[in-house]
């Protein structure tokens, strides 16, 4: 079987699996967030944290919940790393430096999972499992909660109430993320991923010398790393490491986990707003971009010319032979079009265009399908912008799902789309202008620039994947990327919730023949066009000086 065919078949298998899970999971999640009943375990949790899940929150209260919870998360994770040296089960690793501890705490709480540390050389069992893996669940549940709040903003009328943050947070974790993770971890273990609390083994190498391997609760962390679109690997090599991702099957399963919830949330959305077709329209827009990017990535990686590439059957440098070019390309697109950032191959070694596709994928705002929750709300924000422009073109004050898109709504949506480009471009520009950050680059020329552009793009968009090559464990990068991650996660959430509040207060406008039909394929097309043009125009100059200059040169 040719590698190209293998890649295409993997893609088809993945799509079938996703299609099978779409309806049951989407409907289940809608029920989870709509049900009036509480599980016994949940009631117990509410008592412990002292929250009343019956209280309906307006958007400022909901936001306060999100922020308070996340601040506590950052502080806890920071402290845990700072005292690691004194904790049992730390494999003898020292406490983490303040700047790196801040970066890591910000990274995991913001669902980014940018890692400036080497997992197997810095983090012991307690921090990995009790700190990082816990945040993998919670940060994902926070994203889902905010998305659900926005959906409620569309679905509800003449109330400002968006639900209860604590209830959404707990339910997302207990009823959605945990059960799937348990099953997923078993599948990964069956594939050969490790799951233990073993210590450090010293292993001799064939070429002489020795290597240190440590065990850990890897499979359980791996599953939520993908399912919660987190991306932080137990080991530095991330999903390229055989303990995390042993073979082609586990690779495909991990991609499935990455895309599972983000795609299915469009069904949840359709259910909750009372029109499945509205959800499908969003799904079609996501699928179009995802498939388009995957096709482009496979094309550029397989097609790449030159004698060495022809012998290898494409750009195989930096990729694992057990995944091949197809399995690596699909993974790379899935991970950068969601906020995952897990990697099973060395993105820096991708072709110039390949690196550019990964970069642009993040720059679209990670909405196709995007992170758990964040993908849906990011997409809905773009839908608001698209509805505004397209709605004008049909001669009515634009409305989406029966809600008028007026000055207030556009203000929140516009602020949302301003945040990440501002963070990415400003931090990159300052880093390029200052003398020292440039020392972290491994390469010169456009590729070197791509390393830094990639780092901030990944951080501000809460992706967390690294272009590799860049030595990010410096005070400058730890601090600035840490800030980019926190601002890139929580400032947009402010606008999402404010928008949700303003929508929930409105009274619905009845649909007429003069209303823009947002459940039609035409609108999905407009949405895709808006996303690609807005992001493309924003980043074109920067991309031209990085991946484009590099890709066009070959």
């Amino acid at each position: 079987m040719s590698p190209v065919l293998a890649g295409v078949l993997q893609l088809l298998a993945l799509m079938v699996a996703l299609a099978l899970a779409y309806r049951p999971l989407g409907d289940y999640m809608a029920r989870v967030y709509s049900s009036p009943r509480h599980l016994r375990a949940e009631k117990w949790i509410y008592r412990v944290i002292g929250a009343d899940p019956a209280i309906e929150m307006r958007w400022p209260a909901y936001l306060r919940g999100v922020l308070a919870f996340s601040v506590i998360g950052v502080l806890f994770l920071y402290l845990l790393q700072r005292v690691q040296g004194g904790l049992p089960g730390s494999l003898g690793f020292a406490s983490i430096d303040p700047d790196q501890a801040f970066n890591t705490a910000a990274s995991f709480v913001s669902n980014t999972n940018w890692q400036s540390y080497y997992g197997e050389q810095a983090m012991g069992h307690v921090v990995q499992t009790g700190g990082l893996a816990v945040q993998n669940f919670l940060s994902a549940a926070v994203g889902m909660a905010v998305a659900v709040a926005l959906v409620r903003g569309f679905a509800r009328s003449r109330t400002g109430e968006l639900g209860n943050f604590w209830s959404d947070l707990v339910r997302g974790t207990v009823r959605i993320l945990l059960p799937i993770s348990v099953i997923g971890a078993l599948v990964l273990v069956a594939c050969g991923a490790i799951q233990n609390f073993a210590g450090i083994h010293e292993v001799g190498q064939f070429t002489g010398g020795s290597q240190q391997w440590n065990g850990g609760a890897v499979a359980s962390q791996e599953v939520i790393k993908e399912l919660g679109t987190n991306g932080g690997g137990y080991f530095n090599a991330n999903a390229a490491h055989p303990f995390e991702n042993p073979n082609g099957i586990s690779n495909l399963f991990e991609i499935f986990l990455i895309l599972l919830i983000p795609f299915a949330m469009t069904r949840t959305f359709g259910r909750m707003v009372g029109s499945l077709r509205q959800g499908y329209a969003i799904l079609v827009a996501m699928l179009t971009i995802w498939l388009g990017f995957t096709a482009l990535m496979m094309w550029t990686e397989f097609h790449h010319g030159g004698p060495a590439f022809e012998i290898a059957g494409g750009a195989l440098e930096g990729k694992e032979t057990r995944f091949g070019i197809g399995g690596s390309s699909i993974f790379a697109v899935a991970t950068t079009l969601t906020s995952t950032g897990a990697v099973n191959s060395f993105l820096s070694s991708y072709t110039g265009f390949g690196g550019g596709i990964a970069l642009l994928g993040m720059q679209l705002g990670e909405i196709a399908p995007g992170g758990v929750g964040s993908g849906l709300y990011g997409m809905l924000i773009m839908a608001v912008i698209a509805v505004f422009i397209a709605g004008l073109m049909v001669g009515r004050t634009p409305e989406y799902l029966g809600k008028k898109i007026g000055g207030r709504q556009i203000k929140f949506a516009a602020c949302y789309i301003l945040i990440t480009p501002a963070l990415v471009l400003c931090f990159t520009a300052v880093a390029m202008a200052l003398p020292t950050p440039g020392h972290s680059m491994t390469n010169s020329g456009p590729h070197g620039f791509s390393e830094i552009l990639y780092a901030y793009t990944s951080g501000a968009n809460n992706n967390g994947s690294a272009f590799a090559g860049l030595n990010a464990d410096t005070q400058w990068f730890n601090t600035t990327i840490g800030l980019a991650m926190l601002l890139g996660r929580f400032v947009p959430m402010v606008f999402v919730l404010a928008l949700a509040g303003s929508l929930a207060e409105q009274r619905p406008v009845p649909e007429t023949a003069g209303t823009l039909r947002t459940e039609k394929p035409l609108f999905s097309g407009v949405l895709v066009g808006t996303i690609v043009i807005v992001a493309g125009l924003t980043y074109f100059p920067a991309l031209a000086l990085g991946p484009l200059a590099e890709g066009l040169a070959s």
């Binding site: 480009p421 990159t428 520009a429 620039f449 009274r507 003069g514 125009l537 924003t538």
Partner: protein, 713 residues
């Protein structure tokens, strides 16, 4: 809104206050002597140039964030060019940036200029008037500007009415052409719904006493001047929303350009600041930014062209969103008057006999109904219209509102013959008075016609054989031609039409079905109308209506778009947010179209503006970096001749496209009623795809022309 009884029609025929136009509703009047049509005159550009320069004031420019950035860019590039006076490129860019700014102002100035011309016409009407103020029994002459609310003034034939008010005494014919452009005089009289007079109009005959209702300076004509000049213009909600979006895009591009310099330095090719400014101006949405306010002004202006005054731009926008139209039956859906449709004889009488009697008895009836009977008799039964003089010895009984009958007493061959036609009750009484029995048959026919939504008129005869009823004339409301198509069209646009009538439900249903409206409100009182509006609004719908009576005022105020007829009372005009100077209720449909067109134009040009950026990147980015990264020259797909020429071509295109689109902004994107889906597809095709492709061609052409200039190519 009220049932027009025959009596009312009779009255209206004696006091012909200008009847609603009953021309085919699709067409607006081509030219009624008012300021220009919708066509764009290129010389306007030249004439508006000085005004465009005046608008360069930063305090004015700041209201458009996009163009304000261009203004700053123009100033900066001029300073930079001055620092390197030998650099032709810097001067060229600076000059074109200034032109970009000026073109934007020009668009606005041209749009305003059209209103100014109109305002001048109005001002002529507002020449200083001398009012004859009545104090007790005395009269004093004071300047019109010194009148206060509540003053009584006298106007006689030839006088200009000094201010807005209501007629409290007398009847006069008034020439309102100064405001409406309509030269036929109208009747204004005390009491009722035709008492309002407008300052600046001229009394042609008779004498009236007017109670002044507005302060000088706040009169209708003053407000009109302010409106058409755009002085009272405020940004509408949708315009504000669009401005926010444009501002945020401007910030995004500002960031993209400002941060480009460090990247360029790293790449080894520091960019001249003037090039960065050129890039920024090309990227920010200048096309829509430049034309946005012109589009708004032109939208109002298009209404003015159709003799509709919108009191706020908000109302125009709301018109585009309207989903329920309340239309008065009379004058909007049906012709103002009922017409005879058939003659139904009682048993023992032939249709021809009845037709003959009906015609005879209607000859003395000058009301439209009466005329229609004569016409029907002629068309259907070939009965030649007889003239009153032809019949010797005839004694004509003219129709009056009191008797509600008309007829003739003939003496033929020595025998007397009396024929009467009129309202059922009157004719029955007349016949019974003369001992004539009224058969069950008659009552049955009368009831049947009423149930079918018609109005029965009876024809009776008294001759040697005694008095008897011959039959019934079926009077029907005649639905205007083309209304059904019009309502179908509205339905496709998602607009529900509700017919408002004072008729009974049976009549209303019959007419509603014939006209094809979606719903009707029968026996409507002002309270019913109000309740209907509230109900629709509670469902999230926007409601538009027309009205003219004082009792319409609350509903006009409640409706999202309330169009008051100029013939109406001042209370109605005060309550509505638009005034139709032609007093044509059918125009409501056009107003909705104009509202939609306004929004479509904004959306289309925004799409066009953003789509344009793609080509500009392909022109400018290779020009900036192809030296240090030769691979980027592959992006130069237009094969532009040199970096300078490429950048300059993009800047020039960016400036010229504004001027090229001014006519479109003023005229509005062509709008035809169709479903939202088709409209979106069409506009995306033209303005989205067109916006993507057009600049590639335009920039290439400009580059070809520039390369002919020695030293550039």
């Amino acid at each position: 809104m009220t049932t027009r009884t025959i009596q009312e029609d009779a009255m209206s025929s004696t006091t012909p206050a200008r009847a609603p136009h009953s021309d085919v509703p699709t067409g607006h009047k081509p030219d009624d002597g008012r300021v220009g049509g919708g066509l764009f005159d290129p010389t306007q550009l030249l004439r508006s140039f000085p005004e465009a320069i005046r608008k360069l004031d930063p305090r004015v420019m700041v209201s458009s964030p996009v163009m304000f950035v261009v203004l700053i860019g123009s100033v900066m590039s001029t300073v930079l060019a001055a620092l390197h006076p030998g650099d032709w490129f810097g001067w060229a860019v600076a000059a074109w940036l200034w032109l970009t700014t000026i073109f934007a102002n020009l668009a606005e100035a041209v749009a305003e200029g059209r209103g100014k011309a109109q305002a001048d016409t109005l001002r002529k009407a507002k020449t200083d008037t001398v009012a004859r103020r009545v104090i007790g029994v005395h009269e004093e002459r004071v300047p019109g500007t010194e009148l206060r609310v509540g003053d009584l003034v006298v106007c006689e034939a030839g006088d200009i009415i000094p201010g807005d008010g209501d007629v409290v005494e007398g009847v006069a014919s008034v020439d309102e052409s100064a405001i409406t452009g309509e030269s036929a005089p109208v009747i204004r009289e005390s009491g009722g719904d035709r008492s309002a007079v407008t300052g600046g109009t001229k009394v042609l005959s008779d004498r009236i006493v007017i109670k002044i209702t507005t302060k000088p300076g706040e009169t209708f004509i003053d407000r009109m001047i302010a409106l058409v000049e755009g002085a009272a213009r405020q940004k509408t909600p949708n315009e504000i929303a669009l401005n926010i979006l444009l501002a945020s895009l401007t910030i995004v591009f500002l960031l993209a350009v400002v941060t480009l310099q460090p990247f360029a330095v790293y790449a080894g090719q520091r960019q001249p600041v003037i090039v960065l400014i050129a890039l920024l101006v090309c990227l920010i949405p200048t096309t829509i930014g430049a034309l946005l306010s012109a589009i708004g002004i032109a939208g109002m202006d298009r209404l003015v062209q159709r003799n509709v005054l919108a009191m706020s731009g908000r109302a125009v926008e709301a018109a585009g969103d309207v989903s329920t139209l309340l239309l008065d039956k009379t004058g909007t859906i049906t012709l103002g008057n009922r017409q005879a449709a058939e003659f139904v004889p009682v048993k023992g009488v032939t249709e021809a006999e009845l037709a003959d009697a009906a015609q005879l008895s209607s000859l003395a009836d000058e009301t439209p109904e009466g005329r229609s009977i004569v016409v029907l008799a002629k068309e259907k039964y070939g009965l030649r219209e007889r003239h009153q003089g032809e019949l010797a010895g005839a004694e004509w009984v003219a129709f009056t509102a009191q008797t509600r009958m008309s007829g003739v007493d003939l003496v033929e061959d020595g025998a007397g013959r009396k024929v009467r036609k009129g309202a059922a009750g009157s004719v029955v009484a007349w016949a019974e008075e003369r001992g004539g029995p009224v058969s069950e048959d008659t009552r049955g026919l009368t009831a049947a016609i009423s149930e079918a939504g018609g109005t029965p008129l009876l024809v009776a005869l008294e001759d040697a054989a005694g008095a008897r009823v011959l039959g019934v004339i079926h009077l029907k409301d005649v639905v205007k031609e083309g209304m059904r198509e019009r309502f179908d069209e509205l339905r496709r646009m998602g607009i529900k039409t509700v017919m408002i009538t004072g008729d009974n439900p049976l009549t209303a249903r019959a007419i509603a079905e014939e006209a094809g409206v979606d719903d009707f409100l029968a026996e409507a009182t002002p309270e019913d109308k109000m309740a209907l509006i509230r109900r629709e609004q509670a469902g999230g719908k926007l409601v538009a209506m027309t009205g003219d009576g004082t009792n319409d005022a609350p509903a006009l105020a409640q409706a999202d778009v309330g169009v008051a007829m100029n013939t109406g009372t001042s209370a109605a005009k005060e309550a509505g947010n638009m005034v139709d100077l032609d007093s044509n209720p059918t125009k409501l449909i056009e107003i909705v179209g104009i509202g939609k067109q306004l929004l479509i134009t904004r959306g289309a040009l925004t799409t066009f503006s953003i789509a344009n950026d793609v080509a500009k990147y392909f022109a400018i980015i290779p020009a900036m970096f192809a030296v240090v990264y030769p691979s980027l020259d592959k992006l130069n797909i237009m094969r532009l001749s040199s970096p300078e020429s490429a950048i300059l071509s993009a800047v020039i295109f960016n400036a010229l496209i504004i001027v090229a689109l001014v006519p479109l902004a003023l005229r509005g994107v062509r709008y035809r009623p169709m479903s939202a889906d088709r409209m979106l597809r069409r506009n995306l095709g033209i303005y989205g795809l067109g916006g993507l492709i057009a600049p590639f061609i335009g920039i290439k052409i400009i580059d070809l022309l520039l390369s002919l200039i020695p030293g550039i190519g």
